[in-house]
């Protein structure tokens, strides 16, 4: 079959559903929870129930942020458009509605993605139905995940965790937290493991919630762990410290979550493009795809550039998902997608504010909100610079010791 870059028809139903939810459920409460930053968006409980119902009925495939596991079953040679493709397209639709609310979707946390990606079948079953947030960052480091100070010490049948985690998305609302901690600081990256920690574990405390530039509907928590005892079967992946293997195990999660964050940027930016196209048309500026941009108004030329960049980010995201669905290694493409979509998300949303002048800047429209929401997407799950570093190392064939 020939090359085709259209979203498959069989995902259309799912995408249309997500679009209707975004338009009719998220948009009406978008500003409300932007203003009321730490209030729980109770409307989402009903939405989550609806999504669970849909997935149980089989009417949808991998809606939301979960379902990025690489399925070992059904090993035939045909090209698949599966759960990863479904996830990035539906996440993009939801973020067209509201990125902050998407990130607040019960049971669709980044921790759920981690569990779906690396947990054993037994763990999958045990954590089914739980809302899992992800705790990596600590006060003294961001991008340098190897610098983790939080410790996990095996004591009998439990690991005992101590440390402080910041920027935990849905940290207050989630049922459990996927915590990255080191078994032995002296052994570097290889000793870093992730643990599923139930929120009601003694010693786990949500210290405070951050006040943020954007995605204000989503709670971002500071959480401390003081002698928090976690059953040893809650460790995700291999408990042995394999110095040769390094960071690979824990980092594999990112191959699956980065396309999702790229999809968020794609969705958020499309919201801005869609509205700006209409506002420009109202102002008498129509985009002509055939005439040279130089012969159209500066606004139309700018819009063409933004749309072109946006489409590039969107297609890179689909490519990364397609590779995951077909079990091709995709860490290079995942980073490419996130780098491109992340920076395009900012350029598009900020430029749309500029194009729409005070209409864009005012809180009467959502353009200014999208320009705030988009910024985080070029930061979390690996900043723009980290993605460039990953791409550069891969393309140039350099180690992390050579290209720092």
């Amino acid at each position: 079959m020939p090359i085709n870059l259209e979203v498959p028809k069989k995902h259309r139903v799912l995408i249309d559903q997500a679009h209707q939810v975004a338009m009719n459920m998220l948009r009406p409460i978008s500003r409300k929870y932007d203003v009321a930053e730490h209030e729980y968006p109770k409307e989402l409980d009903m939405l989550a129930a609806m999504i669970d119902g849909l997935s149980e009925s089989g009417a949808s495939e991998g809606a939301g942020a979960a379902g990025v596991r690489r399925d070992a079953a059904t090993d035939d040679a045909s090209v698949k458009n599966g759960a990863n493709m479904a996830s990035v397209t539906s996440v993009a639709e939801m973020c067209w509605g509201d990125t902050g609310l998407l990130l607040s979707m019960p049971r669709q946390g980044l921790g759920n993605s981690a569990i779906a990606s690396v947990a054993s079948d037994e763990q999958q079953e045990r954590f089914k139905g739980k809302w899992a947030s992800m705790a990596i960052t600590e006060p003294h480091f961001g991008s340098d995940s190897a610098a983790i100070h939080t410790t996990a010490v095996l004591d009998g049948d439990d690991y005992v965790l101590n440390g402080e985690k910041i920027f935990v998305t849905s940290g207050e609302r989630s049922d459990c937290i996927v915590v990255w901690a080191t078994l032995d600081k002296s052994l570097g990256r290889a000793a870093i493991k992730s643990f599923v920690v139930e929120k009601d574990t003694p010693g786990v405390k949500v210290e405070r919630l951050e006040e943020k530039l954007g995605i204000r509907a989503s709670d971002t928590a500071v959480i401390t762990f003081t002698d928090a005892r976690v059953p040893k079967e809650n460790l995700l992946g291999d408990p042995e410290i394999n110095v040769g293997k390094g960071f690979a195990g824990a980092m594999a999660t990112f191959d699956n979550t980065r396309p999702l964050v790229a999809a968020m940027a794609v969705g958020c930016a499309r919201a801005a493009l869609d509205l700006t196209r209409e506002l420009l048309a109202d102002a008498g500026v129509e985009i002509d795809y055939d005439r040279p941009a130089m012969l159209q108004s500066a606004a139309a030329a700018r819009f063409l550039q933004l749309e072109s960049d946006w489409e590039g980010g969107r297609l890179l995201t689909l490519q990364a998902a397609w590779m995951a669905d077909n079990r091709k290694p995709n860490s290079l493409e995942a980073s490419m997608a996130k780098a491109k979509a992340g920076r395009v998300g900012s350029d598009v949303t900020l430029s749309c504010v500029e194009l729409c002048a005070s209409v864009g800047y005012s809180e009467n429209e959502l353009l200014e909100k999208w320009a705030r929401d988009s910024k985080i997407l070029d930061i979390f799950e690996g900043t723009q610079q980290i993605q460039q570093l990953i791409v550069a190392r891969r393309v140039l064939g350099l180690s992390s010791a050579e290209l720092k």
């Binding site: 079959m1 020939p2 090359i3 085709n4 870059l5 259209e6 979203v7 498959p8 028809k9 069989k10 090209v79 698949k80 458009n81 493709m85 795809y289 055939d290 005439r291 040279p292 941009a293 130089m294 012969l295 063409l304 550039q305 749309e307 072109s308 960049d309 489409e311 590039g312 980010g313 297609l315 890179l316 689909l318 490519q319 397609w322 493409e333 490419m336 780098a339 491109k340 610079q385 460039q388 570093l389 791409v391 550069a392 190392r393 393309v395 140039l396 064939g397 350099l398 050579e402 290209l403 720092k404």
Partner: protein, 454 residues
């Protein structure tokens, strides 16, 4: 013309008309002209023999177009020609080329690496493609790639995707030579897409037989802020035919071409016309440009060129012309991808080998991130182009997709050319390395219209 008026500034040598020359300026300008004349004589550039040998490298040298072979009239004028069928697909998102496409890409890639790339620098310098290289391209079957089997071609169905993959692979060798090799096939593809039965029967046998003619798709015009959809070249009805008047610029292989497809406004609507090179009123002039030089760019002057009524190719409502423009832009996008990939493949080992301050420059983020961005933007360009191509092949509307691809390929492609030179520093500026040629070639994207088509 007096000496003084000849030396008036404005419009020449890049001097704006607002500049004025004082007496010293006139003296200097006059001396300069004298010196040039002297120089010309001393190096014997005006050898009588060269007066008759057309060379694109010398702009301003005009001659009549080449005599064309006799295209024997055949077929029915009012019957639509054979059309390629749209590509079938399952609706699955898939970036894997078909087996046939992959085989084609493998053959063309080998040709690009072993024949095209080694010939590129010399061809760029001479503004001409080696004839054996063009002959080999005919053997591979480049001119008939886009033609359906019924017309003697190789395509089972609409093959815009295969066209893109081939153009990309060829341009990885060299963009200028790729254009020289692809120009005839573009005319053949256009005849396949829009020709009447008579046009197909008259012209296509030459392309599908041995020794396919040079042919070219002339849409560019030498005008600032040129809008390809509003050509200044006109077609006026005269008798039962048309008179064409105007100038086309950057016409690939115009001096060799035996068949032109020329864009002209008919009643204000852009329309394509088939013009045989032996038609009276055609002159061709060397028009070498910044890059894509191996394609032997020329200007084509049309002065009361009389063509018959059935010289119109496709519809007269502008739809054929617009589709042609879009498919040409798609081909230029494919060329941009190939050349940008060549840049990436060249700078990657270079920055790892080149040392500064005791280690490879690739170990610095400012260098490494430039390479990363080349890789990222190149892949985005590729996906944008493939999507537009796949939609074109499937017979879907692709106007938006090709516009977005072209924007990316023009902007990011040029950026890649620029960074390619920058990454080599001073070495990138000299002709010992090909990056300066790629820099010149990549500026063509977004400027060039027509010429190639998938």
């Amino acid at each position: 013309m007096s000496l003084i008026s000849n030396l008036k500034p404005g419009g020449r040598h890049g001097v704006p008309a607002s500049e004025s020359r004082d007496p010293i300026g006139y003296l200097v300008a006059g001396l300069n002209r004298l010196a040039q004349t002297d120089l010309l004589d001393r190096v014997r550039l005006r050898k009588p023999t060269e007066q008759v040998v057309f060379s694109v490298t010398r702009s301003g040298f005009k001659t009549i177009t080449r005599a064309s072979r006799t295209f024997a009239r055949s077929g029915e004028r009012d019957r639509p020609g054979v059309r390629p069928t749209p590509a079938r697909h399952s609706g699955t998102f898939d970036l894997t080329p078909s087996e046939d496409e992959q085989m084609l890409v493998d053959v063309v890639s080998e040709f690009a690496a072993e024949v095209v790339r080694p010939a590129a620098a010399h061809a760029d310098d001479r503004c001409s493609a080696p004839s054996d290289l063009i002959d080999s391209s005919l053997e591979i079957g480049l001119p008939i790639l886009g033609l359906p089997e019924e017309l003697g071609g190789v395509a089972e169905q609409r093959s815009a995707t295969a066209g893109v993959l081939v153009a990309e692979a060829l341009a990885h060798g060299d963009m200028g030579l790729a254009v020289a090799a692809l120009a005839p096939g573009s005319v053949a593809t256009a005849l396949g897409l829009w020709g009447t039965d008579a046009q197909q029967q008259t012209y296509l046998p030459a392309f599908t037989g041995d020794g396919a003619p040079a042919a070219t798709l002339a849409l560019n015009e030498p005008r600032v802020l040129f809008d390809v959809l509003a050509p200044a070249t006109t077609a006026t009805r005269s008798g039962d035919g048309y008179l064409l008047n105007g100038t086309k610029s950057l016409v690939a292989r115009g001096a060799d071409a035996e068949l032109f497809v020329v864009g002209a406004a008919l009643d204000g609507v852009p329309t394509l016309f088939l013009v045989e090179s032996s038609t009276e009123g055609l002159t061709v002039e060397g028009d070498p440009a910044m890059g894509v030089r191996a394609a032997s760019m020329t200007s084509l002057h049309l002065t009361d060129v009389r063509v018959p009524a059935d010289a119109v190719l496709g519809a007269t409502d502008g739809s054929t012309y617009t589709e042609c423009v879009r498919l040409s832009r798609l081909a230029w996008c494919a060329l941009a991808i190939g050349t940008a990939q060549a840049v990436l493949d060249y700078v990657t080992p270079y920055v790892k080998e080149r040392e500064a301050f005791g280690e490879p420059v690739a170990h610095r983020q400012s260098v490494a991130f430039m390479v990363a961005d080349i890789a990222i933007e190149l892949q985005a360009m590729r996906l944008l182009t493939y999507r537009a191509a796949a939609r074109a092949a499937a017979g879907k509307d692709f106007s938006r997709e090709v516009a977005l691809a072209r924007k990316a390929c023009a902007d990011k492609g040029m950026r890649i050319g620029l960074d390619g030179v920058q990454l080599l520093g001073g070495h990138g500026f000299v002709k010992e390395h090909p990056v300066e040629r790629w820099y010149r070639d990549l500026r063509a994207i977004g400027v060039m219209e027509g010429t190639v088509l998938v």
